[in-house]
Symmetry: C2
Subunit: 404 residues, 2 copies
Amino acid sequence: MSPVYSEIPGGVTAPEGFFAGSAYCGIKASNPDRPDVALIVSPQPTVAAGTFTTNRVKAAPVRVSAAHLRNADIRAIVANAGNANACTGVAGIETAKRMTRAVSSKMGLKERQVLVCSTGRIGVPLPIEKIEGTIGQLVPNVTRVGSKAAAEAIMTSDTFPKEIAVEIQLGGKTVRIGGIAKGAGMIDPNMATMLCFVTTDALIEKAELQQALSVSVEHSFNRITIDGDMSTNDTVLMLANGLAGNEMLRAGTPDFEVFQRALDHVTLSLARMIVEDGEGVTKFVEVCVNGAASFSDARRTSEAIAKSCLVKCAWFGGDPNWGRIMDAIGYSGAKVREELIDIYYDGLIAVKGGMASATPFEKLQQAVAQKRFRVTVDLHLGTAEYIVFTTDLSTDYVRLNMGE
Amino acid sequence: MSPVYSEIPGGVTAPEGFFAGSAYCGIKASNPDRPDVALIVSPQPTVAAGTFTTNRVKAAPVRVSAAHLRNADIRAIVANAGNANACTGVAGIETAKRMTRAVSSKMGLKERQVLVCSTGRIGVPLPIEKIEGTIGQLVPNVTRVGSKAAAEAIMTSDTFPKEIAVEIQLGGKTVRIGGIAKGAGMIDPNMATMLCFVTTDALIEKAELQQALSVSVEHSFNRITIDGDMSTNDTVLMLANGLAGNEMLRAGTPDFEVFQRALDHVTLSLARMIVEDGEGVTKFVEVCVNGAASFSDARRTSEAIAKSCLVKCAWFGGDPNWGRIMDAIGYSGAKVREELIDIYYDGLIAVKGGMASATPFEKLQQAVAQKRFRVTVDLHLGTAEYIVFTTDLSTDYVRLNMGE
């Protein structure tokens, strides 16, 4: 399918009517001179959607935002980096609420009209007074070009801010979708979290927005793995204010399909940036499994490969070690028949019918020597397929994660 | 419970009537001057039991041995290192059969009275002629003190041979159990496999032997994880020849219980040796989860912790990073209530009710600085418990596994 969207600058402030900005309150221990609080604001009413970590240990802001998201009209998202407000008990919940109150009181809103996110160290009380003392200046200073400032403020171990925006045409109206994100690299001790905020000026109802976002997240953030560890704070939030003037988007219509594809592009682009920016990462690898008997088998197989320490170490060393891939396929739990399995590195067949192919080893080495390559597995048992985006496992990854 | 067994020397040849030995046939590429074929022989009839990898990609010898194990009277186990005979198709099956035939023809046995194992490179045809040319000298040269020679011959990346034996008293008779094993370290490209061979002179029927072995494997080899990758060749085999003259062991009797505990000690000791000898390993860690709502929850929780790259990197760095342990508990899929979770490093409480305890960080660092320590998690939801033996994740692990 050819793209029906075009990329535009502006990130979360590309859509009409959204403002963003950042401030410095001094809780980002690793970078104390960097902004650490981000704010995204919509003066117009919005409908909101979100997806949250499925980790049963959930950070306080995840619990508070999930509750607030039930409201009809969200007007702001506030997020800090440097402290995750996770494993902080009942006091942490109160702290997260105070963070929303700091924004709502300055904007004349109800507390429940503000969503809140935190990322950073786990298990340390969030110095809420520092944030409260900063929000007062931040609220009046958000701008229509503040996306990058917000993207920078939520960075932890990220080496670059992550933002993207696209526009589409719906019934003669220009509709924009923009997003910012921060990464899954886990460098500092107790550092965690992927955060993503998406805005759109499309006119859409809450249920349809949630449906579109859930689908996009399933095809992007749920497909990336660096170390297989899911954080306590992972959150994707989306706001839609309807300012584009399009006809109300209805699920199942061609317009909705165009919107979905544009949103998919936004989330997938941000997800790729997160993987590529994982600390210690030297390779970006797409693991595609085709021909599985079921969707769940395709997913299990690709995730087993993408999470195998042995496979990832081999990639780091430029070793096209298909034996380890066969091994991971075998223990994935998926239905497989060894003698039917084919494995490719990019276009080169490495395994044919469960055995070494005739491809010279040097050719396979050349494929794995690249910074980006694709591993394709065909199980020849059905038509289900799945793709996961992953990385190698490097000595630097270990070094960066071995603590203080 | 105080031990009812005593350790004795002799490994698999400690029990009456078992012979072992090794030979050199030149297929251990990494160590071409080292013995690479092992043989264990019982001139007496035996009953046999075994457990095999649950990986759906199974090496040829696994398939052949599983079929032969259905026979009543096994007389020999032959094993080679250097080549796993895995991902070798129909030809590999024929090769594994030829390996059993090489032994049976020299001993006047039926092919199906011989079990076969291979360990080493995956996907390369096994040079069976080399093995066939060696078996002729090996068969007459097995001895009553050949356990260590056999243990050395099956080594791949292992740095020391692994053997143990114990004796127990059953109704005034001395019964012995002995074992050898090789490790799960995966150093060479495509290198895999844990192998373990156990012998006993106890009189026991096949079904009871299988029951006892399955229980012991569940509490030992199934509880160890170095990198979470299960090999295509993992095999545990056990032979019992009845020469001790004890009364037939019956499940549910006190004697059977004594036998089980002694066998547990043999398999657990060998499993620990495998973990401690994992290449690149600097820490040996016991992860104990108590208070789970179900056995399956206890297992999931301890395995999630024991397999977390982030947790293991932190241990390597001597960082008592309990936030990452909380994170792993949360995504394990087990039923947990964050506010009830306690975590200990050895006797020191690190997390109390889901939050940082008052224990000084330096004290926790001292615990993690040791070469061996125990992490205990209490979920406070029930009475189920589980223990997993694991390691840290070191830069050397990555270096040793990054290929040629």
